[in-house]
C-alpha cells in the first residue's frame, strides 16, 4: 500500500540539506481487535518545516488524532501496532527510538494540548506544580516559580500568582486550556500539536484560544500541527491544510488554495457543513452517511459511497495522492484520469 508519493514540503528548504522538523513517510497503523488487525492510518505522508503551521482536518474517526499522537509514539500499544512507515523528527525515526530517546522527543521537541483540558490535567496536583514538572524535565535551569508565572502570563492568565496554587477543577475550561498550553510551551518545544484544542470549549472561549495560538506563533518560532474537524478556523492559523478521510490524506494544499478552490468532493462537503459568517447565505448541508468503521473501509475510493459525484469506476479504481497542480495534492479518481 505504499502507493502514496511523498508530498513536497511547501517551504523552500530542500530536503537533502537539513532534514525537515517532521517527516512522516507512509505511516501505517493497525488496531488489534479479536486477533484482527484493523487499519486506522493507511499510508499517511506529511512534512512539516520549522515554523510552519499545518492543519489536519476531517470528521471524527478518520485517523487524525492517531496520526498526531504517533509523532511522539503516544498511541497505547497494544491495542495499536505500527505496520510500517517512518516518523522522522529532526531526521531520526521515532518508531525506532529507545524509551530514553523517546522521552527527549516528548516535550523536548513535540508538545501536545488535547481536546478536554479538564481531563487532560491531573486532578490531584496543583496547576503550578504540573507546569513546574515540565520545566524540571526539560529546562531544569529554569524550574522556578518566576518562570511558571512568566508562562502563565504568556498564555494570558490574569493574576497568575493566585492561580499557581489552584487545582484544575477550580478553573474554567478556557483557563484550563491556557494552563495546558503553558505546560506545553514550558519545555520550549519546536512543534506544538494541538488536538482539537477548542472542541470542548464555549464558542467565545474557542475564539480566544485560537487567537492565543496565533499570537503565540507570532511571538515564538514554533511549528504548529492543529487538528480540527472545523474548517472554519483553518484559514486563520494554518499555512497548509491536509484533509483526512478513512485513514488516508485525501487532499493537501496551501490553506488559501484549499479554501478557495477545494478539489476533493469530501473537502467541499466539509466546507459546506461549516456556517459562514460573511458571504452568500447558502444552504448548510450535512454529509450524508457516516465515516466507515475501522476494518470495513470500502474498496476503491473510500469516500465513494457518500460522494455526490461518484462514478461507477470509483468503487473499483484504487486511488493515489497526486499533485494535480503545484503544491496541491488530491486523492480522487476524477483527478487521476
Amino acid at each position: 500500500m505504499s502507493s502514496a508519493s511523498s508530498p513536497a514540503p511547501s517551504n523552500a528548504t530542500s530536503a537533502d540539506a537539513t532534514p525537515p522538523l517532521l517527516d512522516i513517510r507512509d505511516l501505517r497503523l493497525d488496531f488489534m481487535k479479536d486477533g484482527r488487525a484493523l487499519r486506522a492510518v493507511d499510508g499517511v505522508s506529511l512534512r512539516l518545516g520549522a515554523g510552519e503551521a499545518l492543519c489536519l482536518v476531517g470528521e471524527s474517526g478518520c485517523g487524525k488524532s492517531v496520526t498526531a499522537l504517533s509523532i511522539a509514539r503516544l498511541v497505547p500499544s497494544p491495542p495499536a501496532r505500527y505496520a510500517g512507515g517512518e516518523i522522522r523528527v529532526n531526521g531520526s525515526d521515532v518508531l525506532k527510538m529507545s524509551p530514553r530517546e523517546l522521552r527527549a522527543i516528548r516535550g523536548g521537541v513535540v508538545s501536545y494540548i488535547f481536546q478536554e483540558p479538564g481531563s487532560s490535567l491531573n486532578p490531584v496536583f496543583r496547576v503550578g506544580a504540573q507546569i513546574l514538572e515540565s520545566l524540571k524535565l526539560h529546562r531544569p535551569e529554569a524550574a522556578n516559580e518566576e518562570e511558571v508565572l512568566r508562562l502563565l502570563r504568556l498564555v494570558g492568565i490574569p493574576a497568575p500568582e493566585s492561580r499557581l496554587r489552584d487545582y484544575p477543577h477550580q478553573l474554567s475550561g478556557g483557563m484550563q486550556q491556557r494552563i495546558m498550553i503553558a505546560m506545553a510551551l514550558a519545555s520550549h518545544p519546536r512543534l506544538l500539536v494541538a488536538d482539537e484544542p477548542t472542541t470542548a470549549l464555549d464558542v467565545t472561549i474557542q475564539a480566544q484560544i485560537i487567537e492565543l495560538l496565533r499570537e503565540l506563533r507570532r511571538q515564538i518560532q514554533m511549528s504548529l500541527l492543529l487538528i480540527t474537524h472545523n474548517l472554519g478556523i483553518v484559514g486563520d492559523l494554518a499555512d497548509r491544510v491536509a484533509v483526512m478521510y478513512a485513514g488516508q490524506i485525501v487532499e493537501l494544499a496551501p490553506s488559501h488554495t484549499l479554501l478557495s478552490r477545494p478539489l476533493h468532493p469530501y473537502t467541499r462537503a466539509l466546507m459546506n457543513s461549516v456556517p459562514k459568517l460573511k458571504g452568500q447565505v447558502g444552504r448548510l448541508s450535512a454529509i450524508p452517511g457516516n465515516v466507515p468503521n475501522l476494518g470495513s473501509f470500502p474498496e476503491g475510493c473510500r469516500f465513494h459511497p457518500r460522494c455526490p459525484q461518484a462514478r461507477p469506476d470509483c468503487s473499483t479504481q484504487s486511488t493515489q495522492l497526486l499533485e494535480v497542480e503545484p503544491s496541491h495534492w488530491v486523492r480522487c479518481p476524477y483527478w487521476s484520469t
Binding site: G107, N122, V124
Partner: protein, 321 residues
C-alpha cells in the same frame, strides 16, 4: 474543611439514635427475657420473680426502658449487666477494643499487601503472574471465613505454633507487661491472618481495576507527552488518582470487615463485640445486645467518617467543593 468535618460528625448522631431505637425495639420483641429460665425453677416463687423483673425495669413498657437506657448511654454508661453481674460499660469497652484491634490489624495487613499487589498486577496486565494473582484473588473472595477460621484452628492445634482460639493465655494475669503484650500479639496473629485473607482479594482486584481505568485517563497521556519516564507516569500520576476510589471502597468495605470479624470472633473465640452479641443473645441480656450492636455500628460509622476525611484529604475536588 472544618464545616465538612463538623457536618459529617453531626450526621452520625441520628444514625446512632436510629440504630439504638431499632435494636431496642427488636430486643423488646424477642420472646422471653433473662428470667424466663428462672421461672422454670419451682424453688423461685412468682413474687420473687416479679421482684427481680421490677428491679431490672423489665416490668416497664419498652419505650420507657429505652428512655432510661438512652439517658444513661449518652454518658457511655450501659448500666449493670444482669447476665454477667458486672458493669456493662466495662465489658462493652473491653470487647469493643478487641474488635477494633482485630479489625485494625487485619485492615493494615490486608491493605499493605493488596495495594502494591494490585498495582503490580495492573502494570503487568495479562501476564502469567497477573492471571495467577487474579485466580488467587477469586479463591480468596470465595473461601468462606468460617472455613478459613476452622482451618486456622486446625493448623494451630496440629502445629502448636499458635494458641487455639482466645485472646490471652491462662496465666495472663501473672505475666510482666512485656510478656502480656507478646501473649496478646501471639493470640492476635491467626485471627488477623484469617480476616485479612478474606479482605485482601477484594482490595487487590479493586486496586488493579482502578489503576487500569486511570491508566486510560487523558492526563496519563499528558504525563507521557511531557516526557516523563513510565515509572513516574504510573506511580506519581496514575496511582495517586487510583487511590481515591479505593478510599471510598474502604468506607464501604468496613461493614464487610466487621461482619467478617463477627465470624472470626465466634469461630476462634476472640472476645470481641460479635462474640458478646452471641453470648448475650443466648443469655437473653437484651440491653447488652443493644449496647453491642450500637457499639459495632459506631465503629462502622466512625470508620466511614474517617474514610470520608481521608478521601477529602486525598482528593482536592472533594475537599474544595
Amino acid at each position: 474543611m472544618w464545616t465538612f468535618t463538623v457536618k459529617r460528625l453531626l450526621h452520625l448522631i441520628p444514625i446512632l439514635l436510629g440504630v439504638s431505637l431499632l435494636t431496642f425495639l427488636l430486643m423488646s420483641l424477642t420472646p422471653g427475657d433473662y428470667f424466663t429460665e428462672l421461672a422454670q425453677n419451682p424453688q423461685i416463687s412468682p413474687q420473687k420473680l416479679a421482684e427481680l423483673r421490677a428491679k431490672a425495669h423489665l416490668d416497664r413498657p419498652w419505650y420507657v426502658r429505652y428512655g432510661y437506657w438512652l439517658s444513661n448511654a449518652v454518658r457511655l454508661d450501659f448500666g449493670y449487666s444482669i447476665a454477667y453481674k458486672i458493669q456493662a460499660s466495662e465489658l462493652i469497652f473491653s470487647r469493643l477494643w478487641n474488635t477494633f484491634l482485630l479489625s485494625l490489624s487485619a485492615s493494615v495487613l490486608a491493605w499493605s499487601i493488596a495495594v502494591p499487589l494490585g498495582i503490580w498486577a495492573a502494570v503487568h496486565k495479562d501476564s502469567v503472574a497477573d492471571r495467577a494473582c487474579s485466580l488467587i484473588a477469586f479463591a480468596g473472595l470465595s473461601i468462606p471465613e468460617v472455613l478459613l477460621a476452622l482451618l486456622a484452628l486446625m493448623f494451630a492445634a496440629s502445629t502448636h505454633w499458635f494458641p487455639v482460639g482466645g485472646a490471652q493465655g491462662a496465666t495472663f494475669d501473672l505475666l510482666t507487661p512485656w510478656e502480656q503484650f507478646c501473649d496478646r500479639a501471639h493470640h492476635l496473629v491467626l485471627p488477623t491472618l484469617v480476616l485479612a485473607a478474606s479482605e485482601l482479594a477484594g482490595i487487590m482486584r479493586q486496586m488493579r481495576s482502578n489503576l487500569l481505568d486511570t491508566l486510560r485517563a487523558e492526563f496519563v497521556t499528558t504525563a507521557r507527552a511531557k516526557g516523563l519516564p513510565e515509572g513516574w507516569v504510573i506511580y506519581k500520576h496514575a496511582v495517586r488518582n487510583a487511590i481515591n476510589p479505593l478510599l471510598t471502597m474502604f468506607g464501604y468495605s468496613l461493614a464487610g470487615l466487621l461482619s467478617g470479624a463477627f465470624i472470626v470472633e465466634n469461630v476462634m473465640s476472640w472476645p470481641g463485640l460479635g462474640r458478646l452479641t452471641m453470648e448475650s443473645l443466648s443469655k437473653k441480656d437484651h440491653e447488652l445486645v443493644v449496647a453491642s450492636v450500637v457499639m459495632a455500628t459506631a465503629l462502622l460509622v466512625i470508620g466511614n467518617f474517617v474514610a470520608d476525611l481521608l478521601l477529602a484529604w486525598s482528593d482536592p475536588r472533594i475537599r474544595l467543593k
